[in-house]
Amino acid sequence: MAGLFQRTIDRAGAEVPLTIDGEPVRAQMGDLLITAILLHRAALRRFEFGAGFRAGFCLMAACQDCWVRLADGRRVRACSTPVEPGMAVLIEGVGPG
């Protein structure tokens, strides 16, 4: 599945498996969670107060647009959280564009 982001450099690093809405995808050690998700998806979460989705904005922990829900109940800010093996992200079924 193609997401918003694309890699511009080949970085050496261990693969990090995670799931997005139950579907297994792979990220890389050193990826932030926002990267791990947006390489595969076009959004991070549903917007609470209207139609549509959000995919983050500032990438510097200022705009607070990139909070995602994990299956274990945690809410994390995707742009300031490194991806961890086994993370289970819940976006509610958003596919790529």
């Binding site: 609470e48 107060f49 909070w67 109940g73 945690r74 809410r75």
Partner: protein, 384 residues
Amino acid sequence: MTERLSVDVTIVGGGIAGCAAAAALRSAGMSVALLEKNLCGAGASGVNFGGVRQQGRHLAELPLARRARPLWDELNERLGEDVEFQATGHLKLARSDAEMAELERYANVAAEHGLRLQLLGSSALRSELPWLGAGVVGASLCAEDGQANPRLVGPAYARLARRLGADIREHAPVTAATRSGDGFETRTDRLEVKSRFLVNCAGVAAGFIAAGFGEDVPLRPLVPNMIVTEPLPFFVSRSIGVCGGGVYLRQIARGNAILGGGDGWGDAESNRSRPLTGVSLAAIASALAIVPALAGCHVIRTWSGLDGEMPDVIPVIGFSATTPNLVHAFGFSGHGFQLGPIVGEIIAELVTEGRSASPLEPFAIDRFARPAQAAQPPQAGVGQ
């Protein structure tokens, strides 16, 4: 360049009570000037928890709260705007058998005042609210209590009063209020207002006004310590309080949970206040014990403000004991929000008729001055 006004009534303080009084007095045909030191509704009226609550009040307040309740149903229509009042019900939780007994006691007494409360045991409670934390043994429910948006009510009342022809001046702190002939002269930096009546609903600063007329009252600042979370899926369907009043929380329809408990830091003279971290942490711990499902969310804002508190935790409402045609309404001790609309009516009654339809004896200002009859101590179990 001093502007001179001459009106029937000068009102000091643009909170809900003052603005509601201005509107009521205009409807009675009186000319009104209202002087607000900052913006209308920005004081205690705007920073409180937002509980529209009869349950748990000191018994002296119940007749006023009962009289206020129907006003809340019509408030949107009266004000011409939506102030987000919802009768979600207020649930006062017992966390021990002793507290449950206290709730039962209060329910019996409140019934005599026409307030219907429903006592709920643990299983009834949890079948409605399965998310309640362990340790809650029961509760008292006032189904017709609820919540509204305190940031909207005061400004809406001010707009109503203006539409009705009240002369409302904001950013106009009163520098002096004195007797002048048979009436009063009230001054700000730029105004001199002569009036027949003076209404003192100046909130945390009302003590200064009263002192100017020889009435020293033990009014002290009360600083609410409020916390709000990010929006969450809605599930806290009742406004929640606890026996003893230590913590209170509600969730608005948009999803933010609002909680409070304890006092922040405040300085009345500079009009500054701040929530205190230790107090916030304690309130959060209490709230999480009641609603463990909040544990994964984030706090996005805390705030405080300045309310006024009397030693017996009930307000001063009524005529001055020293000066004719001076009406006081202050010291709402952290629970004036639900009363605001009726206090405005009561002020208007006092001014126009010299009496009120509500029993005001317990709120007399001179209860602090009467040496032979000390002010009643706070009633056990009173609180949010």
